[in-house]
Amino acid sequence: MTSPALAEPLPSSVRKPGRVKSLMTTYRVPLSIIALCLLPWLLPSKALAVNVLIYGVVAVGYNLLFGYTGLLSFGHAAFVGAGAYITGIAIGQFGVPWYAAVLLGVLGGGLLAFAIGALSTRTRGIYFSMVTLALAQLVYYVALQASSWTGGENGLRGFTVNKINLLGYDINFLDPVNKYYVLMAFAALALWVVSRILNSPFGAAIEAIRENERRARTCGYNVERTKLLSFTLSGTICALGGTMSALHLAFVPLDSLHYHASGMIVMMTLLGGASSFFGPFVGALVFLVMEDVFSLWTSHWQIIVGSIFVLFVLFLPKGIWGTFLARFVR
């Protein structure tokens, strides 16, 4: 029997990607790094650029779970905060050198992600989102109560890093340009790690789970273990973002653990596009610049940001970068 003639071209999700798109995908990490190098010169301030770097990393890490595995966590601020607090406490109270503190922050955040992930991946669907929210709020309240460690409501301070010693050179960390490029190195590392994860068989597995969990299970994937691993890796990357934030601001606010902060991460990811690698980074950039610029015009910037978000959910679910890729990049 003759198969129906394929008169129309296949939809883009099935079609083999064209030249530009496959080049972009292969070289996504170097291209991203080039973009990041130029960033501080394109934005109104270096401090804003560093924030974009930080939240870009957080959003890309979060997207590993949300966009690629299909799980909406509403508690990822806990891992960002954990990374920040652990780094700050290590430097401030234990005198640990900055690079070791960063490592501790990342590991600590990853461990917390493993713990919360182990508990929350036992649930499904909307319950998963609610468990992550509840558990993250618990972390918030614990941090509030443990004020002798965390500073409680006042936030953690007293761990300013003035200069760092990198490969024998003393770098003035207070200089905004130096700070940016040092932190950019971390961001580049994070992007590279995420890209490798996505390219690996594990990356295929999480996308399979996102598309159809039952079928993935039938194919022999250990769904629970894969979800947990994705959760943990995603939380670890977010924790790295947190340690970067601690180094940048020399301060860890308690609010960074609140569900509003988690919500902000979700908003950024969606704004940029959850279906692409670099989308969340774009989302973080746009969100932070919007916030910065709008709050200069009016103290009611929240209504603008909220409305834009609602419009995106309704009409541009692929996000800015996702829509751009779908339309213009073949």
Binding site: G125, I126, S129, M130, L314
Partner: protein, 288 residues
């Protein structure tokens, strides 16, 4: 610790629980019937409080505010469902949650623009001021009134769902919307009304809470968290679950206040996490 104090504490726990029940009902109904987690629930509660205040200031009477505001905001809820939520049906179940999350920012800021950022006084209606001597202690008459209103509302809701034809359609639609369509029922109209009802309940909670707490644009944030906790513990979509869970949480918070009051909010979230891990569908809910 004398028994009088414990009894009094139990009573205030039940009264607190009644308020939690009211705020949770709206959230639970919307999820149960539409599968939508309304993250704007707290913001709508707050809008209800402001609407009640506005109507009361126009008419000079709290009672008009109490009657008119929930209907007004309920209708507004229907507009939200029609224009914002309906386009999302068929897409990922997370989308309505995300949209209502963004919507809550819009509503809160909108209220700030119209009414200002400060709190506004919401005077207790003169007929209900004062305290009642319960024997074991004194309790504000207004709060007892609120418990009464919640009781009546729950009763009406139950009667509506169990005894009327519309209630039958709603319950059946919750179980199997496709079948309802096959049977010729316009399910979209049902969803519209149910969403409006849920929002109306939230705003009723707001109007009732006005005289008890200060009315300000941020008042919905904590209410949202409380409503989530109660709904999850009771079971998303279960009326009975919301009622029992609301009362239980109120009593737990109240008893915690006797021994370790600063832990009251932590206990709430810990309880929620515990229930979700042991029995994610809650006490009376259905598994996703």
């Amino acid at each position: 610790m004398d028994t009088e104090l414990i009894l009094m504490q139990l009573f205030s726990g039940v009264a607190l629980g009644a308020i939690l029940v009211l705020t949770a009902l709206g959230l639970s109904i919307i999820f149960g019937m539409l599968g939508v987690v309304n993250f704007a629930h707290g913001a709508l509660f707050m809008v209800g409080a402001y609407a009640g205040l506005w109507v009361a200031s126009l008419t000079g009477s709290f009672w008009w505010g109490l009657l008119v505001a929930p209907v007004m905001i309920g209708l507004f809820g229907m507009l939200i469902e029609y224009f914002l939520i309906r386009p999302l049906y068929g897409r990922s179940i997370d989308d309505p949650l995300l949209l209502t999350f963004g919507l809550s920012y819009v509503l809160v800021e909108g209220v700030r623009i119209v009414f200002g950022t400060d709190g506004i006084p919401f005077p207790t209606p003169s007929a209900l001021t004062g305290v009642l001597d319960l024997g074991v202690g004194f309790f504000p008459i207004y709060r007892i009134f609120v418990v009464g209103v919640v009781f009546v509302v729950v009763l009406l809701l139950w009667l509506g769902l169990e005894k009327t034809r519309f209630g039958l359609i709603v319950r059946a639609g919750a179980r199997d919307p496709t079948m309802m369509r096959v049977l010729g029922v316009d399910i979209s109209k049902v969803w519209l009304l149910v969403f409006g009802l849920g929002v109306g309940l939230a705003s009723l909670g707001g109007v009732l809470s006005g005289p008890m707490r200060s009315v300000n644009p941020e008042m919905g944030s904590l209410v949202l968290a409380e409503a989530f906790v109660v709904t999850v513990i009771g079971g998303l979509g279960s009326l009975l679950g919301s009622i029992i869970a609301g009362l239980a949480v109120g009593i737990v918070i109240s008893m915690t206040a006797l021994f370790a009051p600063e832990m009251a909010t932590i206990v709430m979230f810990a309880l929620m996490a515990l229930v979700l891990l042991i029995r994610p569908q809650g006490l009376f809910g259905k598994l996703a």
